[in-house]
């Protein structure tokens, strides 16, 4: 029996879930993401209370690390790393991309995530989860070109992710699936699966943010 608290503040929908294995003890979500930093830990506290748990009862924490809103990612990570440190709990980082796998054999899955800019976050994976095109931050036109160049554009397509509907006109022969944002509940499931498969030791290091930058930025002047 694993008790897990999962939080996602990286997307347009802020959510949290308190779970015990597959069972959801408490779930909460809100589209009001503007003041999420001020309120996040209060919602967490209320969520735990509603589930009848304290921080000491938990076995695992999970947080969505991005890509997504910079501010949101940072708030979620700072809060969850703080909780992990203060409560002595393991913290699993779940990428938004982890959530979207192709639902059917023989399909290529384009994952499109919202960035609130012209460049979206993209990744292409096949149904087995093999990465065909690693995560990039670019316009849908540029990604379509990349897909063409890779010779992958003619396959049956699934278009998933919270920016999938926006991208549908680019690949009108594709099918839309999983167009909602990653939920905390999904992040919790992924984290618990990872804990079962790889053991709690795999969370020894607290996760950092998954920022993804456009490929055409000016040359870095960093050392």
């Amino acid at each position: 029996m694993v008790k897990c608290l999962a939080v996602n503040t990286a997307n347009a929908l802020m959510s949290l879930a308190v779970m015990e294995d597959d069972e959801i003890l408490h779930a909460w979500q809100s589209e009001e993401t503007r003041n999420q930093g001020n309120l996040l830990l209060q919602h967490v506290g209320e969520g735990l209370k509603a589930a009848g748990l304290g921080y000491g009862d938990l076995d695992l924490l999970a947080v969505v690390t991005g890509p997504g809103s910079f501010t949101g990612i940072r708030i979620g990570l700072a809060a969850m790393r703080g909780l992990a440190m203060a409560a002595g709990l393991p913290l699993a980082g779940v990428s938004s991309f982890d959530f979207y796998a192709a639902p059917q054999e023989g399909y290529l899955n384009i994952i499109a995530l919202e960035s609130w800019r012209e460049e979206l976050y993209f990744q292409a994976v096949d149904a087995k989860g093999v990465v065909i095109i690693p995560p990039v931050n670019e316009t849908m036109q540029d990604f379509a070109e990349r897909l063409d160049l890779a010779g992958e554009a003619d396959q049956p397509l699934f278009i998933t992710g919270d920016a999938a509907e926006k991208c549908f006109p680019m690949w009108p022969w594709g099918e839309l699936a999983k167009t909602g944002p990653v939920t905390a509940e999904a992040a919790g499931r992924i984290a618990m699966k990872r804990m079962a498969e790889q053991g709690v030791e795999s969370f020894a290091e607290r996760p950092g943010p998954f920022y993804l930058r456009p490929p055409d930025v000016t040359v870095s002047s960093k050392k």
Partner: protein
């Protein structure tokens, strides 16, 4: 415990009510970056990677655990919102798990009260707060009670130091670099004559500052000197003596400006007839010895006690936030767990707007 992440230092400290600093952890991004490369304030992204480990290190150094703390204080502004948020979320998380009182501290209040961590200074005292982002004269009437007498109408004094250092190829941060170079000047009086600089607002009424014109004047002075020096095409071609003399002249000019404006503020402050009049200098620029000496002289002349916290407490640090937390906890001034962060947060929101009459468009 105090947490500070509003600028480029990630800092955590633990202090006690009887003025003992149990731990003082500080990680400066500045030291690791070459000036002209990463903008230091933006290196604030590193806060997220370090803050939880810094908290653990501070607890280890002090030999205490989280439940032993009486409260968690954290800078809630002003500053870069991203960095502030990281500190605040960490503090809120720790407070949530161990049910600790939370205090959201104004970074400037941290600077304003630090002196009381090391000395017994009674309210009200006159405070000159000089740092990279601020230049203000305030009467500290009590915890949370500040009356601003003057502020900069354009740049902060630290910015003028950084600019001057950059123009003279002296590196970053500018304050210590300029001070070091100026120390090589043998005849300060002659230096000032050779490289005269303007004294904006000096001699005028009021306690406001202006450093923008000084910045421009330094640039002109440097350019002119390069032109006048045979064989020198740029700043590195200038003789070391000249650079030292220019730094000395600049430093004394700043001292004169600060003393003139602080002089007016002292007169205003003394009108309130304080029982134990004191001039306190705080902020990173207060580490400069020449400025300290000049201000000490000014205080003495006016019958004020002069107090400046030690250098390690003048620059941004966690102990000042922890101490402000102690002062606030004593008065029962804790914050609700949903307290907000502020990018801008004046200590005295009712202060009149600084005069800009002298400014052109």
């Amino acid at each position: 415990m105090g947490i500070e992440t509003s600028c480029d230092e990630t800092a955590v400290a633990i202090v006690t009510g009887d003025k003992r600093i149990l731990s003082h952890q500080i990680l400066s991004q500045k030291e690791h970056e070459i000036y002209g490369g990463v903008v230091p304030e933006v290196a604030a992204r590193a806060h997220l990677h370090h803050i939880d480990h810094m908290v653990e290190a501070a607890l280890g150094e002090a030999g205490v655990s989280l439940p032993d703390l009486s409260g968690v204080a954290v800078t809630a502004g002003p500053g870069l919102i991203g960095g502030v948020m990281v500190g605040v979320m960490t503090a809120k998380a720790m407070a949530a798990v161990h049910d600790l009182p939370l205090v959201g501290v104004n970074h400037l209040e941290g600077h304003a009260l630090t002196v009381r961590l090391v000395e017994d200074v009674a309210f009200p005292y006159l405070l000159l707060l000089v740092s990279g982002g601020h230049c203000q004269l305030l009467v500290v009437e009590g915890v949370g009670a500040y009356r601003r007498l003057g502020t900069t109408i354009d740049d902060a004094v630290g910015e003028a130091f950084d600019k001057t250092a950059k123009l003279l190829g002296l590196g970053y941060p500018g304050g210590p670099a300029v001070e070091r170079a100026a120390a090589g000047c043998a005849d300060v009086k002659a230096a000032r004559k050779k490289f005269p600089l303007p004294l904006p607002l000096v001699g005028r009424e009021g306690c406001d500052f202006s450093f923008s014109g000084l910045k421009t004047a330094v640039r002109r002075m440097v350019e002119l000197r390069v032109q006048e020096t045979p064989g020198a095409k740029d700043v590195p071609g200038l003789p070391e003596d000249d650079i030292a003399a220019m730094c000395a002249s600049f430093q004394l000019t700043v001292a004169d400006i600060l003393c003139d404006r602080a002089g007016n503020a002292i007169a205003e402050y003394l009108k309130g007839d304080p029982a134990a009049p004191a001039l306190v200098v705080a902020g990173g620029v207060a580490a400069n010895k020449v400025l300290r000496a000049a201000l000490e002289g000014l205080a003495e002349k006016n019958g004020l006690r002069f107090v400046a916290p030690p250098v390690k407490l003048c620059t941004d640090n966690g102990a000042m936030i922890a101490w402000a937390g102690v002062e606030r906890l004593r008065l029962g001034l804790t914050d609700a767990p949903d307290f907000p962060v502020h990018a801008r947060w004046p200590l005295d929101p009712d202060a009149p707007v600084a005069s800009r009459k002298s400014e052109r468009i």
